[in-house]
């Protein structure tokens, strides 16, 4: 009986260590502020085609590719989620969907909810929700 209890305790400690290792950082404003490269697959900082996010201390953010801003707005951490309220134009994403050509020079408001997980010191993953759209992203901190 004693041996089983020791084994159980060991496994609990191991599991706790594993879980805490996977969540080495908390999603707080101080953590999020900075430059990130975000993609549906892991991207490298410096790739011109990658999508970059700049979270500023004053609560604004900018996202874009190839040094061109494609979304500007506000970010806010709400519990475990990150809310993004921003303005963007579908015309920026003609390379993804050719039909979006008709949105050129037309700007719309969007609200995205990010649900982060596996938050590590310089990397986190998140599920993004925009209306009916769901996207999984991996963010890597850039210097």
């Amino acid at each position: 009986m004693r041996g089983k209890l020791i084994t159980f305790n060991f496994l609990v400690v191991l599991l706790t260590f594993f879980i805490s290792g996977a969540n080495a950082a908390d999603m707080v404003p101080e953590y999020l502020v900075g430059n990130w490269v975000i993609g549906t697959t892991e991207q490298k900082c410096g790739d011109s085609d990658s999508e970059y996010f700049m979270f500023h201390e004053n609560g604004t953010f900018k996202a874009g590719r190839s040094n061109r801003p494609e979304a500007v707005g506000f970010w806010q951490i709400d519990g475990d989620m990150v809310n993004l309220d921003f303005i963007s134009s579908g015309g920026f994403f003609q390379d993804i969907h050719a039909e979006l050509k008709e949105y050129a020079n037309e700007f719309d408001y969007f609200k995205v909810k990010l649900i982060p997980f596996n938050v590590e010191e310089n990397r986190f993953e998140a599920v993004g929700l925009l209306g009916e759209q769901i996207n999984k992203g991996i963010a890597v901190r850039c210097k």
Binding site: F8, F93, V112, E132
Partner: protein, 132 residues
């Protein structure tokens, strides 16, 4: 030992489910996501707007169909205000249709307004009276 197994099972189930949803289930991958691995936010925006673009296109098509099916008299209807404007400010009758009296009155107005000289007034007045 049984407790440990149960604990493991309970812990593994959500992890496996999350893995299945995000990795294996193809339906989870949106069209936009499949389009570009680099565009996380852009993929969502694009996917969201493409749905809107389809709806907008349908509305435009419906409007075009409705417009085409309506009788052409509606076009005449749209042009009516211009006609109404014409009615509100009737153009003066052509000189040839005016009576000598109207011509003389018009001549008086032109003279009173200083548009014609006294000599021109006299000449025109004589011409009107001679044609009676």
């Amino acid at each position: 030992m049984e407790t440990i197994r149960k604990t493991f099972k309970l812990g593994l189930v959500p992890i496996l489910l999350a893995f299945l949803i995000t990795t294996i289930v193809p339906g989870f991958k949106t069209e936009a996501r499949a389009g570009s691995g680099a565009a996380f936010l852009g993929g969502m925006v694009a996917g969201h707007l493409v749905g809107g673009a389809v709806r907008r296109s349908r509305i435009r098509t419906a409007a075009a169909v409705k417009s085409a099916s309506e009788p052409k008299t509606q076009t005449v209807y749209v042009q009516q205000p211009a006609a109404a404007t014409t009615y509100a400010q009737p153009a003066p009758a052509p000189a040839s249709k005016m009576t000598p009296e109207q011509k003389l009155q018009q001549l008086d107005k032109l003279a009173a307004g200083g548009y014609i000289t006294p000599a021109q007034y006299k000449e025109k007045r004589k011409a009107i009276l001679d044609n009676m």
